[in-house]
Amino acid sequence: LSLCLVMDLSHLNDAERRQLEGLFEKKQMQDFIELYNGLTKRCFDQCVNDFTSRTVSGKESRCISYCVDKFFKASQRLGQRFAEHQETTGSGGPQ
């Protein structure tokens, strides 16, 4: 969610950085939307498989809640590993 903080922008001047900030803001919005829809998709797929009723059951509801919690804990952990990796390899990736 904050990949922008990971990037090395020291070679840009102030005007370029301001322009990028607007772009980053838009991307963060898109990332949030994708996160939201992707998380719903993931947990819905894993937790809801009974269509004899149109009401979410207690069991499904708990599963969803655990699925979301686990997703964020796993994302946070992988995010830390990712940040550590970026620090050791510099700006990383092909340019």
Binding site: L35, N37, T40, K41, C47, V48, F51, T52, V56
Partner: protein, 92 residues
């Protein structure tokens, strides 16, 4: 409450917010389509009609999807607020 918060935004920001809403709706609808078709439709196509049980399954699947989408949305908004507060604290 949506409209009053919208009034404070510039024209450009309002368009961007509307575009984001369309993207969010499109993404949600596409996931609903894929998810509920995968869960409810037989992949063994004998004809081009929806069976009665497939139709009922789609309706229930949609109802459950909307419910869960909303719950997760509320959870995310709480977390986002918490993160924004943390960010604004860090920027000071």
């Amino acid at each position: 409450t949506t409209h009053s918060s919208m009034d404070a935004l510039s024209s450009k920001q309002r368009i961007m917010a509307q575009e984001a809403e369309l993207d969010a709706l499109t993404g949600m609808f596409n996931n609903l389509l894929t998810g509920c078709q995968n869960k409810c439709l037989s992949t063994n196509h004998h004809d081009g009609e929806l069976t009665k049980s497939e139709s009922v399954c789609l309706d229930r699947c949609a109802a459950k999807y909307f419910d869960i989408h909303e719950r997760i949305g509320e959870k995310l908004q709480d977390m986002q607020k918490a993160q924004m507060q943390m960010n604004s604290t860090m920027q000071q």
